[in-house]
Every structure is written in C-alpha cells, then in structure tokens.
Amino acid sequence: MEGAKATVCMREITKTFGSTVANNCVCLDINKGEILSLLGENGSGKTTLMNMLSGIYYPDAGQIFVNGSEVSIRSPKDAFELGIGMIHQHFKLVDVLSAAENIILGMPGNGRLDMKVVNEKILNICSLYGFDVDPKQKIYDMSVSQKQTVEIVKVLYRGADILILDEPTAVLTPQETDKLFAVLRNMRNDGKAVVIITHKLHEVEELSDRVAVLRHGQYIGEMVTKDTNAAEMTNMMVGRTVSLNIARPEPKDPKPRIVVDGLTVRDIDGVKKLSNVSFAANSGEILGIAGISGCGQRELLESIAGLQLVESGSISYIDPETGKQVELIGKDPRTISTLGVALSFVPEDRLGMGLVGNMDLTDNMMLRSFRRGKSMFADRKSPRSLAERVVNELEVVTPGITTPVRRLSGGNVQKILVGREIACAPTVLMTAYAVRGLDINSSYTIYDLLNQQKEKGVAVIYVGEDLDVLLELCDRILILCGGEVSGIVPGRGANKREVGMMMTKLGGEAGK
C-alpha cells in the first residue's frame, strides 16, 4: 500500500462553509519522524484542513486514515485518542491556573490528584525535548513564548505523537523562534510527526523536511524541502511568479515631521514603559522601529496617536505647509485631527481597535469620516464608494461591501484598514505589525503602499518584527530595548546581527 509509511493519510477531503469551499478534494500524507510544512496564502485552507484532523470540524466528504485504518474524528477527544494534538494560533489556557494545572485540565484521573507526580512527568517531557517550563508558574505571569511552550507540553502530556502547530512563530521573537525550532527537531528525531502551518518561506527552508502547498483550498503539490527553493515555493503558493525584492526608493527632501523629545510613559501599574525616548520622523522617509515584543513600541505609537497617558516629554508635529509646531501630548485623537494634523494609525489589534469586526465594509470606512458635515445624519455614500474603491484597488477578496469585516481573512482585513488610513491623505502614517499574519502577496501589496506614501512625502513609521524586512524596507531604524532608545541606524547597510544585539542590549555590544 502506498501510504504504508505515512501515519496519517487524508484522502479527497472536502469542506465547505456555506458557499465557500475551504478545502476541495485535498489529499495529504503525514509521516513519522518528519517535519512537514503546510504552506499557503491566507485563506488557502491550511488551518481548516488541520482542524479536521484535530476534531474541530468534520469533513463534508473524504476519508482519514491513521496508521492504516480509517477513522472518524468527531471531536478533539477523538483526535487525542488517536495521538493527534494541535497547537492553535490563539492559546486556549486558563490565565489564573498554573502551567501544570492547565496541562492536566480535562484529563481523566482518579479521585486524588497528586500534583507531585504530574510535575515530575511534565519535567520529564521538558528535559526529553529541551523545553523550559516551570510547572508551578501561573499563566498570567508568562510571556507569549512560554504560553506556547505550555500548549505544546499539554499536547505531549496527553501522549500525542502527531503534532500540528498553526503559525507558531507569528508571535515569537527571532530568538524564541530558534528555541522552538530546536525543540521541534528533537521531537522529529524522537519519531514524532510534526506539521507546521506557515507562510514564511525561510522557516520552511530552515526547519522542514517536506513541504506541501495549498492554494485556494486545493492541493497543489509537495516537495522535499532541500530540492526546492523560495522562488519555486512562492510560485506554487501564489500561482504566478512574484518578485521577492522590496523596493526602497531614496527619500526625497526629508524634513522633520514628528519630533519626540524625552518621552516617558508609565502603564496603569506604574511600570515604566518608555523612558526618555527622543527621535524625529522625517517626511518622505520610512522610519522602522525594531525591538522585542513589549519593549514599548505600542506605547510609543499610542502616545503619538493621543491614546496613551504620558508622564513627561513632548511630541511635536511640524505642519508641512506652514511649518508651525503643534504639541500632541495631552490631546485626544479627535482634538488632534481637528487641529489639522493628518495622522493615520494602523494599530496592531486590527479587529479590536482599528476596525469593528461585526460591521460591514462601508461602516468601517465611516469610522474616520462619519463626523464630516453639519447634518445630524451620517453620510454613507462617500464611505460606500471608498469601500468599493479600496476593494477594487487593493484586490480585497470579499463577497461584497456589506459583509462584516470579521468574516474576511487576515490579509483582507489588513488591506481594508490600511486602505482606509491611506485614504485620509495622511502626512504621518504609523503602522504596527502591518504584515503580521499576512501571506507573501498581501505583504508585498502593503510594502508597495507604504512606499507610495513615502514618495508622496508622508512620514511613515513602521513597527515590524521581521528584521529582514525592516532592513530591506526602512530608510532608518530606531531600535528600542526595554523602553529606551538603543540606537538609530541607517537602513541601508545595516547589519542584522548588530541590530539583533541592540534589541536585547542597550547600544548593542559597544554600548556596555
């Protein structure tokens, strides 16, 4: 039999949601002792396919074989019994419980719970694969990467030998990613089957043994990773040839647009988030902001946008036409915009902050414009035409402009948000993790849009997590470390390793 070696065979799997076909006759083999990358653009059906293995969805048609016999996976419990465990993009942990309590949650046991035995077993698993988990630590005390580790241990504790990870690196720093990959390699060497869902090509190349590509819900093909390259994988994913270079035109006549001086911010608990931050963002330039997660990027952008309580310092906006300075601190977003400061902000939390998930495209476009005019009634005509224009120009995939935004895939949601923010004709455009979770095609669309804004003379601030992109796209890079400026380097000719060092240590190696 062809699938003798394969531990999981999926045959002709089809799944539809209403009129959308998420998977169409997909066949996939997963082997033991191998890391398989499942590659595809946003909305190509990777997660849906894996959700059917882990019992979240039930396929409309098709068969699943595990270790040679056909099975029916009706619930996550069935999946666990077959040794299939999935680590979802959004963690499913109880914040107030400890790691160990989360790990054993929902498992059958006898009347008496012996946490000692549990902890020991957890530590055994950890030492076997090289995890670093304190079973007694509470979840709310943990970083994102630690939470993810708990999720993985949870699955292993239940005896899973087929692990599925849904975009595990989307929330990790480069260092954390390396650690995760080392662990995954250990698991493979232990004979487990590992599937990672991703759309980052360099991860595929670095980690996996085999790669399978999906496009628009269809299975396109599979390759041994070492026999292929980034260009070929992209072509399979997108269906046409895509250039992988990011353009970086020379800035034209850069002049300071936003000048931040001595900015200090504390959060509600009095913890210093930003300390004495000073820099200038120039017109016609993309200023990158690099730093590990939680080092103050969010607070910085929100301070400029008027959403953050500032302890001390000043943020002044210099009007490109009159040259007049406007102080932004102490003003809310509405006051800032009535002062004539054309500030656009693409926040990190798209559906929780930038957009309203349950509203349709038109109503989301209206967020920026609904106050216009003296009438008591809101004008819905111009937002509607704006929605239509954004859908056309940015190639947003949507059933229509009356669809609630939350039903769209991540890339399309982002296009709508960026499209709206650019439509305000900003003089300052701030973006936080603008391409997080986006596939290659959408990412490049966003880079192009940012470059267009830059060429129009807009001061663009780009907070990113992918150092490669920051180094290729930005004219200057501001590096934050623990809420302080670790350095500002020119983007051209910057060294990735050096920037990485500055992210973790003030001033890098030299700044000791």
Partner: protein, 365 residues
C-alpha cells in the same frame, strides 16, 4: 467501509445568507409547532379542547372593540419601553432598570396631575407631564451611566438596584397622595375633572397613545440607523477600544445614550399614568420593564419588528388572563403556554443561523 467509521449522527453547520423570507418561514413554523406542543400540554394536563382554549385566548385579546383597544394600548406601552431600551442595549449597556425609570416617570406625571390639575388647561398639563416624566426617567438612567462611565461600576446591578429605590419612592408617594384616606391607594386621579388625562382622538380613547409611541418608534429607528450619534452608539457597543481609537468619547456616549433611554422609559410611565390607568402604584410598571428586554433583543433593535413582538407578548398575556378566568385555572397553566411559545420563537433563531446535517445526507453543493 469499516463499520466502526461512523459519521456523527447529527452535526451543526452554519448557514450563509439565508433569504429573509425563509427566515420568516422558519419563525412561522416555530410558532405553529409551539401551538401544537401547547395543545398537547393543555390536553394532557387539564383535559380541555386546545382549540377552544386558543379561541378563548383570542376572545380575551380581541373579543370586543374595547378589548382590542386595550390590547393595542398595552402593545404600545410595551413597544414604548422596548424603544427606550433599544439604544442602551445596542450600546451593550445592560439597562435592567426600565422598571424603575417607568415608575419615576409615572410619579412625575402623577405629581403634575395632582398638584397642577386644577390650575392648567389639559394641553399644558400633558405637555408638562411629558417633559417632567422624561426628565425624571432620564435622571434615573443617567445616574448608573455616570458611575459606569466614571468609575466602571457594573450597570446591571446598578440599574437593578435603582428599581428598588424607585419602588420605595413610589410607596412613599402612594402614602403621601392616599385618596380616600385609609385606602392605601392613590385612587383615580382627577376622576371628576379628567384633568391631564389623554383626550380622545378621532373618537378613540387610546389613539393618542398609539400615535405618540409610533412616532417614537419611527424616530428611534431613524436615530439608530442614520444619525451620527446612532453610529457612535453601535461603535461603542461593538468595541470601546475602537471608539477611543477613532476619538469618540466613550463616557459621553454612555451618558448621553442612557439619558435618551431613561427619558423614553420615563415617557412610558407618563403613558401608563396619564394615558391608561390614571393612578400610580408600585405595580404601575408591572414587570413590563423586564419583558420589554425580550422585545428589544428579539427584534435586534429594529423598532418595526418590535411592534410584532410586543403585540405577540401582549396577546399572550391577555389570552392567558382570559383562559384563567374562563376555565377557572390559575395563572400557571396560562404562563406555561406563554413559556412554550417564547421557547420556540427563541429556538427558531438557532435554525435561522445554523442547520443540522444528519448522517448519510450529503450537503448540497
């Protein structure tokens, strides 16, 4: 095929873009099913002919012209409260305090009628009551809103407790205005002069109630759907962070919206006193402040759909009273029928959003 490999017997899939007429068809079917189940219950428990019971219910609500008008009047009352609750719930502000807001509006109206009844013409009395009752209701709504906006208090508990304050105030006022002395009721206010009572319009005693509430319903529909403030309400309701991001003052919207919500509920008190019972007691609101929550939610804040739901609920209530007296039953039997019907109508929403796929049936492509 391996016999152990069985599809689940039934599974749930989401429906996509159901035509609205099919949605209404499902609701209609659920109503018919509810009537059928009620019929079985009626027959099994009290051995009565269900059809006769239904006929009696109809009789109770629409048996005579007077009854029909009373049903209509009460429907309008229910609709008025639902319209008042709509903006608050749309903003995800759990206003459980309509009951208190109605009572306060009622007290205000009664006070105007009692103290100014002999010194003002009817139109001025009505206008004054209208204004005073809506202000009183607005204050009752703004207090919890202010504390929520300022200190983040829980509005569910706060509004609920405001109800008890209103009930105690009403008891106090009843004692104050007792008439005749010793009866422990206010009696019918201005019984001889009819001062401050709703006048008959087009020969109908309750026509003014109908017109007033329909105007409110239409205005609220337009307000929520097309005005800038209505848009702000929905943004705040969906996501406060988005509202802040876009520069909407969440505090102001909360307070303003609760002012409107409380004012309309206060007007319901005006309707109850000036337009219906012409008296005030602790049961003037009579639980309608709670029932109207069902009206607002089931209609998804569409005030026109609210008319239908308010009518259904009032019809059930009137019918229940009729069968209780006609067949000498206690309240519980009729309340069971109401419960069954509500259960089916609420349940139908599930079938409008989802459908069940049974084993062996393939989904249509």
């Amino acid at each position: 095929m391996n016999p152990k490999v069985r599809e689940p017997f039934v599974r749930i899939t989401k429906r996509d873009g159901l035509a609205s007429w099919r949605g209404w068809l499902i609701r209609l079917i659920s109503l018919i099913l509810a009537l059928a189940v009620s019929a079985i219950v009626i027959y099994a428990m009290i051995k009565l002919n269900p059809l006769k019971v239904y006929a009696a219910m109809w009789e109770g609500a629409f048996g005579s012209e007077k009854r029909s008008w009373v049903t209509l009047r009460d429907t309008m009352m229910m609709l008025c409260i639902g319209v008042g609750l709509a903006p608050a719930f749309k903003m995800r502000f759990w206003n459980i305090g309509a009951e208190g807001q109605i009572l306060i509006g009622g007290i205000a109206t009664a006070a105007v009628l009692i103290y100014c009844g002999n010194s003002m013409p009817t139109w001025a009395l009505l206008l004054t009551s209208f204004v005073v009752s809506s202000i009183a209701g607005a204050i009752w709504g703004v207090v919890p809103a202010f504390f929520k906006a300022r200190f983040g208090t829980n509005e569910t508990l706060f509004t609920l407790m405001m109800n008890y304050v209103a009930i105690q105030l009403t008891s106090y006022c009843v004692a104050l205005w007792e008439n005749p002395f010793g009866s422990n009721t206010v009696g019918v206010i201005n019984q001889q002069t009819r001062a401050g009572w709703f006048p008959s319009l087009l020969g109908q005693q309750y026509m003014l109630n109908v017109i007033l509430v329909l105007v409110l319903a239409v205005s609220m529909y337009i307000y929520l759907r097309y005005s800038k403030q209505g848009y702000e309400i929905s943004v705040v309701g969906e996501s406060e962070r988005t509202a802040r991001y876009i520069g909407i003052s969440v505090r102001r919207v909360i307070v303003r919206t609760m002012m409107i919500s409380g004012a309309i509920c206060g007007l319901a008190g005006f309707l109850a006193v000036s337009g219906a019972s012409h008296t005030i007691s602790t049961s003037t609101a009579g639980g309608r402040g709670f029932t109207a929550i069902i009206v607002a939610w089931l209609a998804k804040f569409n005030t026109f759909v609210m008319i239908l739901i308010a009518a259904l609920l009032v019809f059930l209530e009137k019918g229940a009273m009729q069968i209780a007296s006609q067949y000498n039953l206690n309240d519980f039997a009729s309340q069971m029928i109401t419960g069954i019907i509500l259960f089916f109508i609420l349940g139908s929403e599930f079938f409008i959003n989802y459908r069940l796929v049974f084993r062996g049936k393939k989904e249509a492509k």
